[in-house]
């Protein structure tokens, strides 16, 4: 091939390659930030997808969204709560919009996104997780598994759209540039940074098994009402014991604190203020069931502090605290704080009786 021919051919190849790269980058970045957020955040994507379907199915019913953690996702049997009872008026549509490891910032993000897509709920139930209330520092480089500490930008930034940044930066002012850098890293080469969700969705054979397992647990197992029951047959006594030990290692030391984390308080109040601004009723501030062993890890001062703090929040925002920590027997838990399906039904039954129905009646 002549030299000039080689150069012309080289130019064609390089330019076509660069343009292709830019096109794929732009398409995926636009998609993630506009319509295909589930590429970056499959848990949210599946949640909002199912919510949209339920709203379309029952357009006339009022909507109550439960914002919380995996405890609520496993424990609030939203499909059961949404079933009409013969002879009675159709209850509100209840939907579990919970995230594994969810913190107030996640709940606020979720709610803002629901409002943005026209799925504004009539009411919300907000889960309070006492372990998140403890005052902590903001270390860099914390492991991704430590979701009960301040957010890890490297892990979380990929889940955010650019619109979400003002919120995150307000929450974590000391690490604004870290968040921006992490977000830019995540947005560049999204085919690489989002490869687990992409392969798990479109090329399951190639998805690393441990990532598929995690996604199966927190994404693909999400039911049509967002409820994710822990069913009989999916665990053994051995696995329950192991899970219990993991819970103890994770939580025991977190339930001995003497001050409420100011960042937790600020974001929880931001969430409640947002509800007020949007005219979204706060049905209750819910503390999910825990077994007796779990409850014994609270230091006495911590117990009082949590009670006073949650009561203060409820009073400030005109709602109630639903302290359901001692509602369910010990043998109905997977690990001391996640309910089995057999425990979630009696919990949901009592929740409906003591909380939802009175609220609906008062509203009507």
């Amino acid at each position: 091939m002549a030299r000039s021919q080689r150069k012309r051919r080289g130019r064609g190849i390089v330019l076509a390659g660069v343009l292709t790269l830019l096109a794929v980058q732009a398409t995926m970045t636009y998609g993630i930030n506009r319509s295909k957020l589930y590429w970056a955040d499959p848990e949210y994507g599946t949640t909002v997808g199912n919510l949209a379907l339920r709203k379309a199915e029952f357009p006339q019913r009022s909507l109550i969204v439960v914002l919380g953690t995996s405890r609520s996702r496993n424990g609030v049997a939203a499909d059961w709560l949404s079933q009409p009872v013969p002879g009675e008026a159709a209850p509100p549509l209840v939907y579990d919009a919970c995230l594994a490891g969810g913190q107030p910032i996640h709940m606020l993000l979720m709610l803002r996104r629901f409002v943005a897509i026209g799925a504004k709920p009539d009411g919300v139930v907000i889960e309070l997780l006492p372990a998140l209330m403890r005052e902590v520092e903001t270390p860099e480089g914390i492991p991704a598994r430590a979701s009960y500490l301040p957010l890890n930008p490297k892990r979380e930034a990929a889940r955010l759209r650019y619109d979400d940044f003002d919120l995150v930066r307000a929450y974590d002012r000391d690490r604004q540039w870290t968040w921006l850098r992490a977000w830019i890293d995540a947005q560049s080469a999204p085919w690489y940074t989002q490869r687990y969700t992409l392969t798990s969705r479109y090329a399951k054979l190639w998805a690393p098994q441990e990532n598929v397992s995690a996604l199966n647990q927190w994404t693909y197992a999400i039911g049509p009402y967002g409820y994710c029951p822990i069913r009989a047959g999916t665990y053994t006594d051995d696995s329950r014991q192991r899970a219990g030990r993991v819970a103890e290692d994770s939580y025991r030391h977190l339930l001995k604190f003497e001050a409420i984390d100011s960042v937790y308080d600020r974001t929880m109040r931001a969430l409640l203020n947002y509800c007020a601004e949007q005219g979204i009723a706060v049905v209750g501030l819910l503390m999910m069931p825990e077994n007796s062993g779990f409850r014994s890890w609270y230091a006495p001062r911590t117990k009082r502090l949590v009670q006073d703090y949650t009561a203060g929040l409820a009073a400030d925002f005109g709602t109630r605290v639903v302290d359901a920590r001692d509602w369910i027997a010990d043998d109905q838990f997977m690990d001391g704080h996640h309910l089995l399906e057999s425990g979630s039904i009696p919990f949901s039954d009592r929740f409906q009786r003591d909380v939802l129905r009175p609220w609906s009646r008062a509203r009507d």
């Binding site: 091939m1 051919r9 080289g10 130019r11 064609g12 190849i13 076509a16 085919w191 690489y192 190639w206």
Partner: protein, 482 residues
């Protein structure tokens, strides 16, 4: 002994990409050739210093010593003085290698020997940090001083040029082992960035990414669990791991070489071609002409031939082959595994040589073996021998290698592979097809006939898919440890 620290710039990372782009941008803005050399030299030392600052000084010191010795070789006509200088260079480089890489191996082996004789010793291993790339740059330095001694090339007059030859960051960490006579003249040629060079770099980059991220790291997910605990796996999984590791090491090492060539092209340099479809070899001798070409040619030119090569009788040639391959094995790592691996290849080469001589007396057999079916058989046999030898290369110790061999050749029940067998089948087929396409000329034909925009789009799509298929934990390149 690991040289890396948390700030090290690793290949296939965002940091390396940003580093390379920054160096590239300034490089082509610099007007003078000398300025370009100094810029690259500074970048190369910075790159090395991110691994270990103190050892960067070791590289600088040993390079300076070799530069001065080569200048002396040019200057002094006396044969005796020249031999002394060469001996100093060889001794110095080999001493560096011996100290940093083999001290603890020699100490431990000596201790085991004494223990075998009933003598106990005290004391632990030396705390030595292995300089990254030492096996590669010492061999480059040795080849340089020997070429100057043999008057094949004049000594390089510019210290900066010589140091850049040694420390040029794309190839410093894991080769290819570049010859001075191939690299130094490139520094004196004017450099121009043109579309052709960019396209060549682009092509090597895509190839390197596919091999490393989509294939090698994926094969590691199959091989690593089995080599970590072979007793837990069945024979099927063991054979799967042997095949997977054969593919892993090829794609890992040749992928690195491709990336090194891509980066070098960005700066106007061409590095030595290091892999030429080695698994399409019909015998072990051909395998070593196609695998890690820069090392095998170095061993041939600076060890095998000085030992006598194949100029003596059959016994002497076999002896020279065995010494060369055993030392070649030792070069890879300070462990008896590598030495035995080298000896195994030495044995393969000797057997091949004897068989070839026997075939020459049997024309019908030779005809049969050179037929299509015969060639396929020979390629399969060569691949099987090479793959089985890789077990020694990969296993952490001889005990593990022994367990793998026993589970491979005696049917043993156990756990299956940890990854779907379809992945192994698909990626193995891809490597085979790529070899066939390369050997048959199909790749060249396609490249020259398909319109250039289609080629560009296809290469980009392939790179994107390769990155999307990269498994969770990206692994460092295997040859970084050498």
């Amino acid at each position: 002994m690991s040289p890396s620290r948390s700030g090290a710039i690793l290949f296939c990372t965002q940091e390396f990409l940003l580093f390379t782009l920054a160096i590239f941008a300034v490089y082509w803005l610099l007007p003078y050739r000398t300025a370009k050399v100094y810029w690259l030299l500074g970048a190369s030392f910075y790159f090395y210093a991110t691994w270990n600052e103190e050892l960067a000084l070791v590289v600088a010191g040993s390079s300076t010593a070799d530069y001065l010795i080569a200048r002396g070789l040019d200057r002094f006509p006396s044969r005796r003085w020249r031999q002394v200088l060469l001996a100093i260079s060889l001794g110095g480089n080999l001493a560096l290698l011996a100290y940093f890489k083999y001290s603890n191996f020699f100490i431990e082996s000596f201790r085991q020997m004494l223990a075998g004789a009933g003598l106990e010793t005290s004391g632990g291993a030396l705390d030595i940090v292995l300089p990254i790339g030492i096996s590669f740059y010492t061999f480059e330095a040795i080849s340089y001083t020997m070429d100057v001694y043999r008057r094949r090339i004049p000594a390089e007059r510019s210290l900066a040029n010589f140091m850049l030859f040694i420390t040029f960051f794309p190839h410093m960490v894991a080769g290819p082992i570049v010859r001075a006579r191939a690299f130094l003249p490139q520094m004196r040629r004017p450099k121009k960035l043109n579309w052709y060079r960019l396209q060549v770099a682009f092509g090597y980059l895509v190839l390197g990414l596919i091999k490393k991220m989509a294939i090698s790291d994926r094969m590691a997910m199959i091989a690593d669990p089995v080599f970590a605990d072979p007793g837990a796996f069945g024979s099927g999984a063991v054979w799967g791991a042997i095949l997977a590791y054969s593919i892993q090491i090829y794609c890992d090492f040749s992928g690195y070489s491709d990336l090194a060539m891509a980066v070098a092209h960005l700066f106007g340099y061409t590095l030595t071609f290091n892999f030429d479809m080695p698994y399409s070899s019909a015998n072990v001798a051909e395998f070593w002409r196609r695998w890690h070409i820069s090392l095998s040619s170095w061993l041939r030119d600076y060890l095998f031939i000085p030992l006598g090569g194949s100029r003596g009788g059959g016994w002497q040639t076999s002896r020279n082959l065995m010494i060369t391959m055993a030392l070649g094995g030792l070069w890879h790592g300070a462990s008896w595994n590598f030495i035995i691996w080298g000896i195994a290849h030495g044995a393969f080469l000797i057997v091949h040589r004897l068989f070839r001589v026997a075939c020459q007396r049997r024309p019908e057999l030779e005809f049969l073996l050179r037929s299509h079916l015969g060639t396929i058989y020979r390629i399969g046999l060569t691949f099987a021998c090479v793959s089985l030898a890789w077990v020694l290369f990969r296993a952490p110790d001889l005990q593990t290698a022994s367990t793998i061999y026993s589970r491979a050749f005696a049917f043993e029940a156990g756990s299956p592979m940890t990854q779907p067998v379809e992945i192994l089948a698909i990626l193995s087929s891809a490597v085979i097809l790529a070899h066939l396409a390369g050997r048959s000329g199909l790749r060249k034909y396609l490249y020259e006939t398909i319109p250039s925009p289609i080629v560009g789009i296809a290469w980009t799509a392939a790179a994107i898919v390769a990155m999307a298929l990269a498994p969770d934990a990206g692994k460092a390149f295997i040859y970084f440890q050498f």
